[in-house]
Symmetry: D2
Subunit: 108 residues, 4 copies
Amino acid sequence: MDFNDVKKEVIQFTKDRNWDQFHSPENLAKSIVIEAAELLECFQWGSDYDINAVKEELADVMNYCIQMADKLDISIEDCIMEKTKKNAEKYPIEKSYGSSKKYTELQS
Amino acid sequence: MDFNDVKKEVIQFTKDRNWDQFHSPENLAKSIVIEAAELLECFQWGSDYDINAVKEELADVMNYCIQMADKLDISIEDCIMEKTKKNAEKYPIEKSYGSSKKYTELQS
Amino acid sequence: MDFNDVKKEVIQFTKDRNWDQFHSPENLAKSIVIEAAELLECFQWGSDYDINAVKEELADVMNYCIQMADKLDISIEDCIMEKTKKNAEKYPIEKSYGSSKKYTELQS
Amino acid sequence: MDFNDVKKEVIQFTKDRNWDQFHSPENLAKSIVIEAAELLECFQWGSDYDINAVKEELADVMNYCIQMADKLDISIEDCIMEKTKKNAEKYPIEKSYGSSKKYTELQS
């Protein structure tokens, strides 16, 4: 299924239930972190995981991200590409190759 | 830009830096919640926000979600649609219209 | 140092800066999760950690917990003891010994 | 009840169930953020809250903080006091009075 159709379905789901009134950017930010923590719960005691649980929680995170982008009238695709450009400057390949260091700790 | 192209760019970014080794599902789950909390920080003391900061943090959350889906070899689009179907059963329109209650608290 | 004195110092710190106005229970809940995610960041890519960073982030989490308890006029000590009692019922020793399962999954 | 006694009870609870094996600092960091997000869930759609739910979730956060401090053999009290000293330097009263700005944004 195309991502644009997914976005439409998800937004329609919210409209059908008149939930838009609860979806302030602030409440959506809270919701994203709440769902992200439920995703983390799949890994609370180790690296093993239930793939079905992970899929559901990942879907919940993404769902609220789509709601947030819709609410703010921004393009998810553009946001990611702009940030990737920024990250490419913060993490030049030659400096960051194979390193998990934060850009503030990368040696010049 | 098409979401499929965005996904390709984001995954290529990781490959170029040989960061795949750090991206276990568990570490990605941690990363998603860490970025989600940075998104929440935009709203820490109230509902006002800096749209540019929000866009960057939302991009970071989505970026790690894409990495997670790639790592687990699952389709983001399918995950969201499957969960939406489940949610439609948990939250029938007539019961949940205009209510922010959890499905466990909805009256039958 | 006694924990009661610690609590007094932390609350005084807030009063001295007139920050009480920002400390609604909701904002404190956001702050606790934001700091908790910074603590998790110490372990983002693995189990190694910088003990000094961990100490600072743990202190930030606890600090906001103290602020929350003060704001709600509840006793941290009583909250923990009451919840421990509840947990003892949900997790009887014979059933939960050596198991990381959630109480909803413990066999009867 | 004295906080030192609370700490003892909480640690004994874990020992009685042989749960110490799950309590690596990394897993405890995950647990703290998971519980912090459950606390935030009490405020997901607004500032109203159920005080009993808040007390339980706050207790869970504090419980894991105590476990973490015990595991790392550090004093919660000292951590908080040391961090408060640092914060006093980052946030001098005259500069930060009545302001919710981050120290990096405070005017000199």
